[in-house]
């Protein structure tokens, strides 16, 4: 007797890398279900505030609802405080919103990237129920296990084992970080069937938000 499954994994991978004064958030644009492709041009990235971008992979129905929920809460914040939400504030809000549905979670694996109030890059990585951590870089989604070891190796970020605790932002320049993200997606596309088609890269820095698209393998 088949039971209705409220969830579905639409695949895809999201990555974010924080630098000294920039943040790169990238995700592929393939939407799949099972072994089929539903769309080659579906964005997983949502701009929630000036300096705050959310990339989520998982069940796109829940992701759409989560993004709408956060956008509405951000608008209320703007009305009450007369300014847009900062990235760390949005990070906490996202965590609370996810935990609110602890017993029927949003099937969304999130990576939040942006600039903090000092203009430094920040990346926050989440699990499905809201546990989060500020890191220097992160990957979530079907290709994350293929990408994280490469990012660990290539980003030259300070090791988390060092004392005193060091900021995990990468010392790489913005263009080097963008090139690395492109390489890492190209590699994951080779082996992960759910990742491919096109890569959407969003770079946030002091001059604003800049979007770029790169073609990936379509098989």
């Amino acid at each position: 007797m088949a039971r209705f499954d409220p969830y579905e994994n639409n695949g895809g991978t999201c990555v974010a890398v924080a630098g000294a004064d920039y943040c790169v958030v990238a995700a592929d644009t393939r939407l799949s279900v099972g072994y089929s492709i539903l769309s080659r041009d579906h964005s997983k990235i949502a701009q929630l505030a000036d300096k705050c971008v959310l990339a989520s992979s998982g069940f796109q129905g829940d992701i759409k609802a989560l993004q709408k929920n956060l956008a509405a809460k951000e608008l209320i914040y703007e009305h009450n405080h007369n300014k847009k939400m900062s990235c760390p504030a949005m990070a906490q809000l996202l965590s609370n919103t996810l935990y609110y549905k602890r017993f029927f979670p949003y099937y969304a694996f999130n990576v939040l990237g942006g600039l903090d109030s000092e203009g430094k890059g920040c990346v926050f990585t989440y699990d499905a129920v809201g546990s989060y951590e500020r890191t220097g870089y992160s990957a979530q989604g079907t290709g994350s296990t293929l990408m994280m070891p490469v990012l660990d190796n290539q980003l030259k970020s300070p090791s988390p084992l060092l004392l005193p605790a060091r900021d995990a932002v990468t010392p790489l320049s913005e263009s080097e970080a963008v090139d690395l993200v492109k390489d890492v997606f190209a590699s994951a596309t080779e082996r992960d069937i759910y990742t491919g088609d096109r890569l959407e890269i969003v770079v946030i820095n002091s001059s604003g938000t800049h979007r770029e698209y790169i073609e990936l393998r379509k098989d």
């Binding site: 709408k68 509405a72 608008l75 209320i76 009305h79």
Partner: protein, 291 residues
């Protein structure tokens, strides 16, 4: 109007068919400092006179953004106004969440009017529904209990939707009307007289012209006091020529001061010319007599 035996609570009619409490609430609006609103076919402007309660205090905020496409200016009990602004903001957010579209201004004014009704004439009916807890239903028809008072604030609701720019005035009574231009609050009659003379051309006005007329209308209510960017607030919303929306926002003080200065310069310019012409005539007259 004088105190009488029919004005104690909002649910008592007078023999003449008046609800005095509602009328008294509308008096509260007349006591507040002035606000004006005007609109063209593409833009709507709201302006308010900033009157601090005392020399030591600052003025209260009277113009609020409600959504990207709409805002309100209020006169009367500003505390009630804050509550209503919060309500309107929530209504706009909920509507966009469900329909992915901005709430049309006529519907926004309607929600506000409905809320005024529910507040003034509540009927609480205890309904026992099987398997649910006792629920209280709010029905704005007749009355059984009445411990709530009307909102003591009048709101000018301005915004942009698919059918163009709109301006509504919402009364504490729950009535609302659409206007091309309107003024509320103390000494608003002077502003209304000014607007009545000019409103027929407003549909074709540019945003700058609308702002100038709004400032002139506020100036009428100040009655002698000098108009500066410190004692007025102006906000605008509209659709630009290229079709994109110009979101509801206050115009900043330096820009307002520039506009006020240019308005004053335009007023002063004409009188200068006739007097210099008069001097020339006198000198030319003097010469023949000066023998």
């Amino acid at each position: 109007m004088f105190r009488n035996q029919y004005d104690t609570d909002v649910t008592t009619w007078s023999p003449q068919g008046r609800l005095f409490q509602v009328e008294y609430a509308m008096e509260a609006v007349k006591q507040g400092s002035a606000c004006v609103g005007l609109r063209s076919s593409t833009h709507a402007v709201l302006a308010a006179a900033n009157k601090p309660a005392s020399e030591l205090s600052s003025y209260q905020r009277k113009v609020f953004r409600v959504a990207e496409h709409a805002g309100v200016a209020l006169a009367g009990l500003t505390a009630d106004g804050r509550v209503l602004s919060r309500f309107l903001r929530n209504e706009c957010i909920n509507h966009s969440f469900v329909y992915e579209a901005p709430l049309p201004i006529s519907r926004l004014a309607l929600r506000l009017a409905d809320k005024a009704q529910l507040r003034t004439l509540p009927k609480y009916a205890l309904v026992c529904v099987k398997n649910f807890r006792l629920r209280e239903l709010l029905i704005p028809v007749c009355t059984q209990r009445s411990w709530k008072r009307p909102y003591g604030v009048g709101l000018l609701v301005a915004g942009l939707d698919e059918t163009g720019a709109h301006l509504y005035y919402n009364c504490p009574s729950g009535n609302y009307f659409e206007y091309q231009a309107f003024a509320i609050g103390s000494r608003s009659q002077a502003a209304k007289t000014f607007l009545e003379r000019r409103f027929e051309g407003y549909n074709d006005y540019t945003p700058e012209q609308l702002i100038k007329d709004a400032l002139s209308a506020i100036k009428e209510t100040l009655q002698g006091e000098k108009l500066t960017s410190a004692n007025c607030t102006v906000a605008i919303v509209g659709r630009k020529d290229d079709g994109t929306i110009e979101p509801f926002q206050m115009i900043d003080a330096t820009r307002i001061q520039e506009i006020i200065d240019s308005m004053e310069a335009a007023e002063e310019a004409p009188p200068v010319e006739p007097s210099s012409m008069q001097e020339e005539e006198r000198t030319s007259d003097a010469a023949p007599m000066d023998i």
